[in-house]
Amino acid sequence: MIFILRAFKQAFFLIFGFNREFYGVIFLTLLVNATATFIGATIGIPAGVALSEYEFRGRRPVLVLVHAMMGLPPVVLGVFFVLLFSRSGPFGFLDLLYTVPALIIVQVVLAAPIVAGFTYASLEDIDPRFGLQARSLGATHLQSVYVKLREARAGLVAAIIAGFGGVVSEVGAVMLVGGNLKGSTQMLTTYTVQEMRKGNADLALAAGIILIIIAIVVNVFLTRLQAGKGQREVETKGVTGAYIHG
């Protein structure tokens, strides 16, 4: 019990003592996770839209692949990317192994399918007649897709939340691809693992607290986005009849 209290105290000093090395880890974590989520959403949302809106050859297999990737153990992805980026691998010449870009790349590959899968699912849930209605009022196909995306906003934000959740909690892949190099590719999760192994439970706990804070702050922000201008989805459905005859 005393041990835990001491750990909290240490964590407190680490956080409010503005330890330079520790804040470097925080900064890198934010940078990599935010960039990966952003790029992952930039790829994942259009991919989800394409899967839901367009009939193309190979749509089914792509969908299965996306869904499989959503549940892929990140550490497997890590092994795969280490092989790709290692000196003798096909992308060895890029010299990416154990660099920040490698961290971002592997996390984008993690986040994008999650965002795509959730985007696809939330668009499929929207009454297809919303698209028809928009087009019958003069919308081009693209404009009608935008209407559906707006209707699916809660689902889209959930997709981004899930994508971010996937990367922020990730250890295995960044450990393998980044190497957990102190001062260059060390992230909060890998830092936690390392300090715990060294017996520094206080440092591990401090990192854990920061991760929880990041997750809460980001999700408060995203959830606010999801709720919109105080509109409650529950009421809308009955009145606009979106789901009555679907």
């Binding site: 007649r129 928009a134 019958s136 003069g138 404009q143 201008k229 509109q231 409650r232 009145v239 005859h245």
Partner: protein, 380 residues
């Protein structure tokens, strides 16, 4: 002053030049035909009602006319130009001269005015112009005070008014409506039917109105077209459809609850004598004797009288007697089935039911005019 993306109204459209036409139009889903329309035309300024049961292909028909879906075969002509199968910008340009209202309002997330301005927005109309036109249309549909309200707070009737305004504000050359009032409660539906009728006539809007409700068709239609299993089975004025149905299906659908097989015994001077299950009925028709026919009578055209008043058949009037087999109360009216010996259904007020003391088992007289009997030739 012309707005970008909003072509000026074509003044060439008249009865002689239908604005929207279709020829040889068919649609199949997975080999199953759902629509087969030989010829169809909407004249400028008319309200054309497409009446038919659910599953008759009405909605598909509207979507094809609005270029939301291509037909399997056939042509759609809009303002003199063949438009089926257009793609991309060309399709959008033609589609933008029409607007379609669905059964459910399908309002988009946002406020009432944002919804109404949607069609103008995608056409690139400036925001000042848009505001002006949205305000004006809000007054037309009586929603002036609700402009800023989020659509999630509206009642069903208000939501459908917004949907109507959202289409009207575009000033479509043809307004397509797919059972827009079917989800509303009866008083709201009646009120909106009346208002929409006035708005359409007041603005001389050309409209195609799809419904399965014969009352609605009668209220709104300048012309009615009856659709059955994807085919047009009759086309005419409301009077023709409701009083001179040409097929058994149309007769049944527009309320001829009494339909029988009959044989024409004689025909003279426009008055035919027809045998229905051994009973002779007079009908106004110049059909040839000897023909097998269908005979239809609307239940509201059949009056019940005390047996003492049943006289010998007078000219152009049928009088029969029979036993009441069923009385079904429907609020202020009652449906009474009388075995004459074939079952004749009569619709009378509840008051006359009570005054005549009609109950199951009672003997009553039945009377209907020869003009109330519609005769449908065999093979129709």
């Amino acid at each position: 002053m012309r707005q970008r993306g909003l072509p000026a109204r074509t003044s060439m459209v008249s009865e002689a030049n239908p604005i929207l036409e279709a020829t040889g139009l068919t649609k199949s889903y997975g080999g199953r035909p759902v629509l087969d329309v030989d010829r169809f035309a909407v004249r400028g300024g008319e309200v054309l009602v497409v009446l038919g049961p659910s599953g008759a292909g009405k909605s598909v028909f509207l979507r094809i006319l609005n270029l939301l879906e291509p037909p399997t075969a056939g042509t759609v002509t809009f303002a003199g130009r063949e438009v089926q199968g257009l793609q991309g910008k060309e399709r959008v340009d033609v589609s933008r001269r029409m607007a379609l209202i669905f059964q459910d309002p399908l309002l988009f997330r946002g406020s009432v005015e944002e919804n109404i301005g949607y069609g103008l927005g995608v056409r690139g109309v400036s925001s000042e112009q848009r505001d002006m036109r949205v305000r004006a249309i809000l007054d037309v549909v009586g929603l002036g005070d609700l402009a800023a309200k989020p659509v999630s707070t509206l009642s069903g009737g208000e939501a459908q008014r917004v949907a109507l305004a959202r289409a009207l504000v575009i000033e479509p050359e043809v307004l397509l409506m797919d059972e827009p009032f079917a989800s509303l409660d009866v008083p709201t539906r009646r009120a909106l039917q009346e208002e929409v009728g006035e708005i359409l006539r007041g603005r001389r809007t050309t409209a195609v109105f799809v419904t399965h409700d014969q009352e609605e068709a009668a209220r709104l239609g300048d012309r009615i077209l009856v659709l059955d299993r994807g085919r047009i089975v009759q086309e005419g004025s409301p009077r023709e459809i409701f009083y001179e149905p040409e097929t058994e299906f149309v007769a049944g659908f527009v309320g001829f609850d009494n339909i029988y097989d009959g044989e024409v015994l004689s025909s003279e001077g426009g008055l035919a004598l027809i045998a229905v299950e051994g009973v002779e009925i007079e009908a106004v028709s110049d059909i040839e004797p000897g023909a097998g026919v269908k005979v239809g009578i609307r239940p509201e055209d059949i009056t019940l009288i005390p047996t003492s008043e049943v006289e010998a058949p007078a000219s152009s009037r049928n009088s029969l007697t029979g036993k009441v087999t069923e009385v079904e109360l429907r609020g202020p009216v009652a449906r009474v089935t009388v075995a004459c010996p074939f079952p004749l259904v009569s619709l009378i007020t509840r008051r006359s039911l009570e005054e005549l003391g009609i109950d199951v088992g009672a003997e009553v007289g039945v009377r209907f005019k020869a003009t109330a009997v519609v005769v449908i030739g065999e093979g129709r």
